[in-house]
C-alpha cells in the first residue's frame, strides 16, 4: 500500500509492535554499547483483552551526565562563537553527576502514537526531581518546558506500572510525524512503519538526552515490510 497523502501520522497497535521490533534491532546494531530496547509483556490479567496493548518497549539503566553539553548554557546567552564554559560553571556549581534513566515507549490508544515515559535516579538511588531533570534538559526543551508547563512534560501515571513517571505529552505527535514522512521517498507503508519509531525517537530522545545514532536514520534497503495487520 502506498503512503497516501491522507495518512494522519498515526499508527495502529500492531504497527507499533512492528516498529518497536525494528527500532530494537537497529539499536542493537548501531548502539551496542548502550543497553538494548526490550519488549516488556503486559502484566494485565488474562481476562483483559489480549489482542491489544499487551506491552511496551523499555530501555533501562541508561547513564547520562547531568551537566551535559548544550544543556547547561542558557538560551539568552547562546551564540555560536562563544565558549559556554563559564556559563555552565555558573549554572551548575556542583560537580557533574551521572544520572541513571529508565525509558519506556508506550502506545497510546487514544492518540494512536507512541508516548515516552521515563524516570531518573541520582547515583545514590534517589529519584530525580523536576528540577534535577530540568538541569539536564537541552536549552530548547527547557524553554518549551517553561512556556508550556502542563502540556509538554508532566509527571503522570504510567499506564502499566500504576506509578507516577515523567512523560512527554502526545498531543501534536501525529502532526509532526506526518511532516517527517511527508517528503519521504519511501512509498511503502511498511517502510514507514519500520522507520517510524526510529524517527520518532530521534526527536523525542533529544529532549531527554537520548541520542539516536545517525546511521539508524539512514533508510535501510526496503526489505519486505512487516506484516501490519
Amino acid at each position: 500500500m502506498g503512503l497516501c497523502s491522507s495518512w494522519d501520522g498515526t499508527i495502529s497497535y500492531s504497527e507499533f509492535f512492528d516498529a518497536a521490533r525494528a527500532l530494537s534491532e537497529k539499536w542493537k546494531l548501531s548502539n551496542s554499547a548502550c543497553p538494548p530496547w526490550t519488549w516488556i509483556c503486559c502484566k494485565k490479567p488474562f481476562w483483559v483483552s489480549l489482542h491489544e496493548e499487551q506491552g511496551y518497549l523499555s530501555l533501562e539503566n541508561f547513564y547520562c551526565c547531568s551537566i551535559s553539553k548544550e544543556g547547561s548554557y542558557h538560551d539568552q546567552s547562546q551564540s555560536f562563537g562563544e565558549e559556554p564554559v563559564d556559563d555552565a560553571a555558573l549554572d551548575d556549581p556542583c560537580a557533574p553527576e551521572v544520572h541513571q534513566y529508565d525509558f519506556h515507549i508506550v502506545y497510546s490508544a487514544s492518540y494512536r502514537v507512541p508516548v515516552l515515559f521515563f524516570r531518573g535516579y541520582h547515583c545514590d538511588g534517589q529519584p530525580l526531581t523536576v528540577d534535577d531533570i530540568e538541569k539536564g534538559l537541552p536549552a530548547n526543551a527547557l524553554k518549551t518546558l517553561k512556556e508550556s508547563k502542563w502540556t509538554f512534560m508532566t509527571r503522570e501515571e504510567h499506564p502499566y506500572l500504576n506509578r507516577p513517571w515523567y512523560t512527554l505529552h502526545a498531543c501534536g505527535t501525529s502532526e509532526w510525524m506526518k511532516l517527517m514522512f511527508s517528503d519521504s521517498s519511501s512509498t511503502q507503508h511498511g517502510a514507514v512503519v519500520e522507520q517510524y519509531l526510529v524517527s520518532w525517537l530521534s526527536v523525542v530522545g533529544q529532549v531527554v538526552g537520548l541520542q539516536v545514532p545517525l546511521e539508524m536514520l539512514k533508510s535501510s534497503n526496503l526489505k519486505p515490510p512487516f506484516s501490519s495487520d
Binding site: S49, T151, T154
Partner: protein, 395 residues
C-alpha cells in the same frame, strides 16, 4: 438556551457523595482531636478541590510545615485524577455513607501518586483528558470549560452537642454546590464536543429509548458537531474480588492500586453495519475473555436484548436503571458461565458488577445512551467492573 441536559445528565451532574473526613492521627497536635469534617463531595469533582474547605477546618491542629493535601481510604492513597464518584464506586463494594476518608497534609506519597501542587494540577489533568479525546481543543477555550465545570462543595459542620449545622435544605442541597450544567453543555457544544454524533442521536430517538431531544436548536448558533469518529473514550477500572462473593460489604478492601486493572480505550457505539451496540457489546469488546460465547448465541441474545429494551424500556428515566440493578446480574451471568467452564475449567471467571455513576445498569441498554448520559465532564465514560478472578490466574 441552546443546550439543555437530559434528566439523567442533570441527575449525574448534581450527584454528591457524603464524605466524613478525618485528619490522620499523626498530624493531630491538639487535644481533643478535631471532629471529622462532613462534606458533600461532587461525584464529578476531584479530591484536591475539596482542600479549600477541608484545610481551614483542620489548620489549627496541624503541625508546622508545608501543606500538600492527599486523601486515603483504608490505607490506600487515593489517586486524585480519578473523579470522586469513580473512586467511590470502585473502592466501596457496598456503598458506604458517609464515606470515611482520611486526609493528610504531610508526607505526600510521591512514589505512588502523581504530584498535585494546587488546583492548577487538577485543571491541567482535566484538560489533558479532554485533549486525549479531542486533540484540536484550543488552550484558550479550555479555561471556559473549567469555569463551567468547576464544582464546589458545601461544608457541613459538626458541632459537639449541637449536631450538624449548615445542613442544606433538601431542595437547595445540590444547587449551590455545582457549576451550571447548562453553561457546561453550551461550551461543550461550542467546542464541538458532541458526545454522540448526530447519527447516534437519530438512532437512539428512533429506538424511542430517549424520549426527548437533548439539545434543542432554537435558532442558536451552538449546534453540536458530530463526533468525528464515533469512538467513545472509555476508562475501565477492573477490580478483582474473591470467589463466590455475595456480599460486597465483605470483600477485602483494595490496599494497592496494582489490584486494579486499568484499561483506557476508545470504543465504538455501533458496529460496522451501523447496528447500535449495547453496553454488553461494548464491555465484551474490551473484556472478551469474560464474555466468550459461541457467536451465534451471543448475537441472538444481543438481538433479543435490544428487542426487549425496545418494548420495555421506553423511558429514559434513570430511576428505571436503578430499579434494574438486580435483574441485570442474572441475565449476564448465564452466558459467560457457559464458556468459562470450557475455557477455564478450573475456575469460572465472571463479571460480578458493573457500576457507572453509582448506577448498576442493565447491560442491554444501548451503549450510546450510556455514553450520552453518564459520561464525565472530561468526556470519558468511567466504568467500574468487579470480577471474581484473581490476578495471578494463568492464561
Amino acid at each position: 438556551m441552546g443546550a439543555v441536559g437530559s434528566e439523567a445528565q442533570k441527575l449525574v451532574w448534581e450527584g454528591t457523595i457524603p464524605l466524613e473526613i478525618r485528619l490522620h492521627e499523626s498530624e493531630i497536635t491538639t487535644y481533643p482531636p478535631p471532629p471529622p469534617a462532613l462534606i458533600l463531595g461532587p461525584r464529578l469533582g476531584y479530591l484536591p478541590l475539596l482542600a479549600q474547605q477541608v484545610k481551614p477546618y483542620f489548620s489549627d491542629t496541624l503541625p508546622p510545615g508545608a501543606d500538600t493535601v492527599w486523601f486515603e481510604y483504608k490505607g490506600l492513597p487515593l489517586k486524585w485524577h480519578i473523579p470522586i464518584g469513580v473512586l467511590f464506586d470502585l473502592l466501596c463494594g457496598e456503598p458506604e455513607r458517609p464515606w470515611n476518608l482520611t486526609v493528610h497534609f504531610r508526607g505526600y506519597p510521591t512514589d505512588l501518586l502523581s504530584p498535585c501542587e494546587d488546583e492548577d494540577s487538577v485543571k491541567w489533568s482535566f484538560i489533558n483528558s479532554l485533549k486525549e479525546h479531542r486533540l484540536d481543543i484550543q488552550n484558550q477555550l479550555v479555561d471556559s470549560v473549567i469555569v463551567a465545570f468547576k464544582l464546589r462543595s458545601k461544608m457541613i459542620e459538626y458541632k459537639p452537642g449541637l449536631g450538624f449545622t449548615g445542613l442544606p435544605k433538601p431542595e437547595a442541597q445540590a444547587r449551590p454546590m455545582l457549576g451550571k450544567i447548562e453553561s457546561f453543555l453550551r461550551i461543550s457544544s461550542k467546542l464541538k464536543l458532541g458526545i454522540v454524533g448526530e447519527e447516534g442521536y437519530s438512532t437512539m430517538t428512533s429506538c424511542s429509548i430517549v424520549s426527548r431531544q437533548t439539545r434543542q436548536t432554537t435558532g442558536d448558533v451552538d449546534t453540536p458537531g458530530p463526533n468525528r469518529t464515533g469512538r467513545i473514550p472509555v476508562r475501565l477500572y477492573v477490580r478483582s474480588v474473591g470467589d463466590d462473593v455475595d456480599d460486597f460489604g465483605d470483600i477485602t478492601p483494595v490496599d494497592n492500586w496494582d489490584e486494579i486493572s486499568y484499561v483506557n480505550r476508545p470504543l465504538e457505539f455501533h458496529d460496522e453495519d451501523g447496528k447500535l451496540l449495547t453496553l454488553y457489546d461494548a464491555l465484551k469488546s474490551v473484556l472478551p475473555e469474560l464474555f466468550e460465547v459461541e457467536p451465534s448465541i451471543a448475537q441472538e441474545s444481543s438481538r433479543m436484548d435490544i428487542e426487549e429494551s425496545r418494548t420495555t424500556e421506553t423511558t429514559s428515566n434513570p430511576q428505571d436503571l436503578e430499579n434494574a440493578i438486580n435483574s441485570r446480574c442474572k441475565e449476564t451471568k448465564e452466558t459467560p458461565d457457559k464458556c468459562q467452564s470450557q475455557c477455564f475449567p478450573y475456575r469460572k471467571t465472571e463479571i460480578k458488577l458493573v457500576r457507572i455513576q453509582g448506577i448498576e445498569p442493565k447491560l442491554v441498554i444501548p451503549f450510546a445512551w450510556v455514553v450520552k448520559n453518564l459520561t464525565n465532564p472530561d468526556h470519558f465514560l468511567h466504568i467500574s467492573v468487579f470480577v471474581n478472578a484473581s490476578r495471578d490466574q494463568p492464561t
